[in-house]
Amino acid sequence: MRKARIVAALVLVALGSYAALAQQRPARPNPMTFFVTSVPIGDGGNLGGLAGADAHCQALATASGAGDRTWHAYLSTQARPGKPAVNARDRIGTGPWYNVRGEMIARDLAHLHGDTLELARLGNNLTKQSGLTEKGQIVPGLNDFPDPRDNDWDWVKTTPYSNRHEMLTGTQPDGTAFPPELDDTCDNWTSNKDPDPSLPPGPLTAAPGKPNAQIGFPDRNGGGNGSWNSSHGTRGCSQRSLPRTHGVGMFYCFAID
């Protein structure tokens, strides 16, 4: 309850400062070209392929008045017979990208991914405070409203402040697709399957025969690293499996134009 009040107060403060900013700058100079999906598609790792995920980005952008741009999901697919791999970094234009408040997420692809040692050590500007949904919401992250039930989809879907910081990416830290041998993309975003429940859970990585997706964190907290795009894998690809590691199947959207 106390936390809820604090959050409410913070939201008010945030709205207040936003209003103050808006007053100072009536014409917002940097229109939104990046957001985290405020809601998942809802069928686990089955996004209807890249086309389905892009359509989800486009629909959410349209609902918030940014539908005049071309939106792509930040997702890779792995090479399959007759189909070459697709790298997430090759799908999102060249930047710069701004969130719904006009704050820069990254100047360009090299800044976003840390293409040089110095860029990678410094990092981009995707943080818990800037990694906002298209509605301007902060994505609940590590240690937010902890509850023993926050690994259970039935709880998570009705508790909007519980941790849900895992973004589907299917991508390596440099923004490229994984090699084809194992599943890092829920079968190129068409699978809602889980591993055989009789098998031991094992580590949060891809493994032979395991439906799995690589994820990253907008709050940069968790998984033994702070990677925004490639921290670890999932327990499976069903909607019920994703919350077991604090995800719900949300992902990043970027405007390519």
Binding site: E118, A120, R121, L126, K128, Q129, I138, N143, N221, N225
Partner: protein, 227 residues
Amino acid sequence: MTLPRLLMMAAFLLVLSGSYLAQGRGQAPPRPMGFFVTSVGIGRGGDLGGLAGADAHCAALAATAGAGSRTWRAYLSTQARPGQPVVHARDRIGQGPWYNSRGGLISQHQSQLHGDTLIEAQRGSNLFKQFALTEKGEVVHGVGDPMPNLHDMLTGSQTDGRAFPDSADRTCGNWTSSGAGAAQVGHSDRIGNGNTSWNSSHATTGCSQADLASWGGAGMFYCFAAD
């Protein structure tokens, strides 16, 4: 079943249980605190009494948390000045692994902490807001938290953990100035100045306690156990 066979089975079971016990012990290695954020600054801005004063601050806070037996070093560089050698922060803190006050792993080794390879640098270490705890186990207030924002950590270091080579001051006069000068800082919450650097995000203007506060800090810093 013959007696020898029974004995053999008993011996086999003993060996099994023995290795199980050994494994049980091996599964919970000690994770003593080897990293913390100072819960308070020294209070004189960038004047820490040099590296020796900063190390003593680390040791004193560690002692209050029951970790006084380790060798504590402040994560600070000093710059080469007449009569003063350059000191790189990364060379002062041992080799790791370092755990926080709740046993959470901060980094396995130097290479992970500083991102010595491209893939390590892209992934980042475990030094993020929810793990970068004080010696009391508290999360340090950062961007988006109730004010004041305390996330600026004095380091005087470049992103690779080494001192700045130039003549410009990045260390408040090698941690002796509470007036003129500048200090390079990192962010314990990994938020601010357009990057997520824990050890080298930006420089302050001025070294007084008020100067540091105006940038979002209180003259706090990282402490690591070197042993």
